[in-house]
């Protein structure tokens, strides 16, 4: 019982990180109708970029975030037309093909990462890594490390920026229009290809930045990808597919489940628990927690 506030706080901070992954992931689904299986691999590549850039230049990983964003957004921009090509054209079942394609990419990325980065688990050092705030009241106590707090601040900043982009810019209006109806948006002058490429670029950039943070707060390894792909998916399904406003609640739920398991039960069962919760919620409400999904 003494550990409960700690578990919930850790869960909230973990959930905040998941929000940044899931919002971008959900955005790509809304616009391109493709589930990117490689989301965990983008996070992994971002984490390694943070690790090696930090080692080469000595710059704090938090200061590296903009550079990582630019590089990975450019990568996403270059890759997106290929995915677009798979999704369009005269092939049967384009959605399934898109999925198979990104799955192949993720397998290739993971193999490449294991070849070049090895099998070891690493961690990116930050100036914030050592400090922490400590609270105590009666039997309860709470430790909040600076780096996790910075992660929370990052998550809030990213979510706010995306919210602004979607709701208050012409670009965001185009994105929302595309998600609603592709052809009608095209007739209104929204450039489908360019907007989709931008959305995909933003998504890859954000995933990579989040990867840098995950590498600082937790660890970096070539095999970390699938876990985050499953978590991203969990949050998006739980929130209701394409329902962005549901993402935070679902992400916090996942974070809290995970940290409760870590403290009270066997962490080896986390994925089983995640699947169990997902199973029960989908059984009760197939369109997510808020019954607002597609």
């Amino acid at each position: 019982m003494e550990l409960l506030p700690q578990a919930v706080t850790d869960g909230v901070m973990l959930g905040a990180i998941y929000i940044t992954i899931a919002v971008a992931f959900s955005l790509v689904y809304g616009v391109m109708h493709v589930i990117d299986f490689a989301v965990g691999e983008w996070i992994m590549f971002g984490a390694f970029a943070g690790f090696y850039l930090n080692r080469a230049t000595g710059i704090d990983p938090f200061a590296l975030l903009p550079a990582v964003f630019v590089v990975f957004a450019a990568l996403g921009w270059v890759l997106q037309p290929l995915i677009q090509r798979v999704l369009s054209g005269k092939r049967g079942n384009p959605l399934l093909m898109g999925l198979v394609f990104t799955f192949g990419l993720s397998l290739m990325f993971r193999g490449l990462a294991q070849t070049f980065f090895g099998f070891y688990s690493l961690s990116t050092p930050s100036r914030l890594s050592n400090g922490s705030f400590f609270f105590e009241k009666g039997r309860f106590f709470l430790t909040v490390s600076h780096v996790r707090l910075a992660g929370l601040a990052y998550a809030i900043a990213i979510t706010a920026a995306l919210q602004y982009l979607l709701k208050h810019t012409d670009f965001g209006l185009g994105v929302r229009a595309l998600a609603q109806h592709k052809d009608a948006a095209g007739l209104m002058g929204v450039n489908n290809r360019r907007t989709s490429a931008f959305v995909y670029a933003i998504y890859v950039g954000i995933s990579a930045m989040t990867g840098v943070l995950i590498g600082t707060i937790f660890s970096v390894s070539a095999k970390m990808g699938p876990e985050y792909t499953i978590f991203a998916f969990f949050v998006v399904v739980l929130a209701g597919m394409g329902y962005l406003a549901g993402v935070p609640a679902a992400a916090f739920l996942l974070g809290i489940i995970q940290s409760l398991f870590l403290i009270y039960l066997d962490p080896g069962y986390t994925l089983l628990a995640v699947f169990g919760v997902l199973y029960l919620i989908l059984l009760a409400s197939p369109t997510g927690l808020f019954r607002k999904g597609v």
Partner: protein, 326 residues
């Protein structure tokens, strides 16, 4: 045409039945047995992927469920092999129904990741439980008889292939599944029950996979979570089906033979580059989606028999109108 096809099937059957007499070398017989195994796994994978339009990344989970059920019943309960393998199929059918009810409500992509999460969860379960031996795996009573396993595998794969051929290509069931693949709402409007049909397809795919898993466990006499429940079964079945040609029965067979031949050569000459194989597998999946959307078979059909319509080359399914509310 019909007589020729029958003659060809009989020739293939005779060849497969006589193979152990020709292949004196145990290694080659082992390769042949494994090739049969992958043919069975790929064909079973295609029931959901090609015919129904759902990617099942939990294929390895059902393979592992069959392997573990057979191993536990044989090593811990002392059952003979045949009922143990059959029980593995029953367990897998039950697992498919239980897992399918909520997850098959999810559209395409989400089903794929949900089954992936399921397979990882089951892998964790096998690692943590004592009855499965945890990370140390399980040993089965050894039975070293390569010819026996060749014929058992042949029998299981042949029964699977012909049962699926009848259900998917001759009975209305296959058409119903294709209707779901092309337009689920439309299928519903025609009075079909998509959820029930999808669960039936899921079971139809899971049972042979699990029985093959059971044969595999008894054959190799040792299973652990990495070998029986790892992602390789799903990944490789996917490559075989996509590369060979989705939505047909011959496509996966062709894909399985080609990819397995490549795998065997790769492991024979480049075994130290284990990771390279994964890279090539991934690149092969991505490349065949871009360049061979209908697989090797589709590319061949287009050139050889222009009159025959391609199995999965209908007009692209209309995209579901998405919602983005922030």
């Amino acid at each position: 045409m019909k007589g020729r096809r029958l003659l060809a099937s009989l020739a293939v059957a005779a060849l497969l039945a006589a193979l152990p007499a020709v292949l004196r070398d145990t290694f080659l017989l082992r390769v042949a047995t494994e090739a049969l195994m992958w043919i069975g796994l790929a064909v079973a994978f295609d029931v959901l992927a090609g015919y129904t339009g759902y990617l099942n990344f939990g294929h390895s989970a059902f393979f592992g469920i069959g392997a573990y059920a057979t191993a536990i019943l044989m090593a811990r309960a002392g059952w003979p092999f045949a009922p143990a393998a059959a029980a593995g199929g029953v367990v897998a059918a039950a697992a498919a129904v239980v897992a399918g009810i909520p997850t098959l409500r999810l559209r395409g992509a989400y089903f794929a990741i949900a089954t992936w999460a399921l397979s990882r969860g089951i892998q964790q379960l096998a690692l943590m439980m004592t009855v499965t031996g945890g990370p140390d795996g399980m040993r089965l009573p050894p039975f070293l008889h390569p010819q026996f396993f060749y014929y058992v595998m042949l029998a299981v794969v042949a029964v699977t292939f012909f049962a699926l051929w009848f259900l998917l290509e001759r009975a209305p069931f296959g058409l119903k599944l294709k209707a779901i693949r092309e337009d689920e709402q439309g299928a519903k409007a025609l009075g079909l029950n998509p959820t029930l049909l999808k669960i039936q397809a899921f079971v139809l795919s899971a049972v042979p996979t699990a029985v093959i898993g059971g044969v595999f466990a008894y054959w190799v006499t040792f299973i652990d979570p990495a070998s029986a429940l790892g992602d390789l079964v799903s990944d490789q079945a996917l490559v075989m089906v996509v590369f060979g040609g989705m939505g047909t029965l011959i496509g996966p067979v062709l894909g399985a033979v080609l990819i397995f031949a490549f795998k065997t050569l790769f492991w024979a000459y480049l075994a130290e580059y284990e990771v390279l194989y994964v890279i090539i597998l991934g690149a092969a999946i991505a490349a065949s989606v871009v360049f061979l959307p209908n697989g090797v078979l589709g590319a061949r059909l287009r050139r050889g028999f222009p009159r025959r319509p391609l199995p999965s080359a209908g007009p692209p399914a209309p995209l579901a109108a998405g919602k983005l509310e922030a």
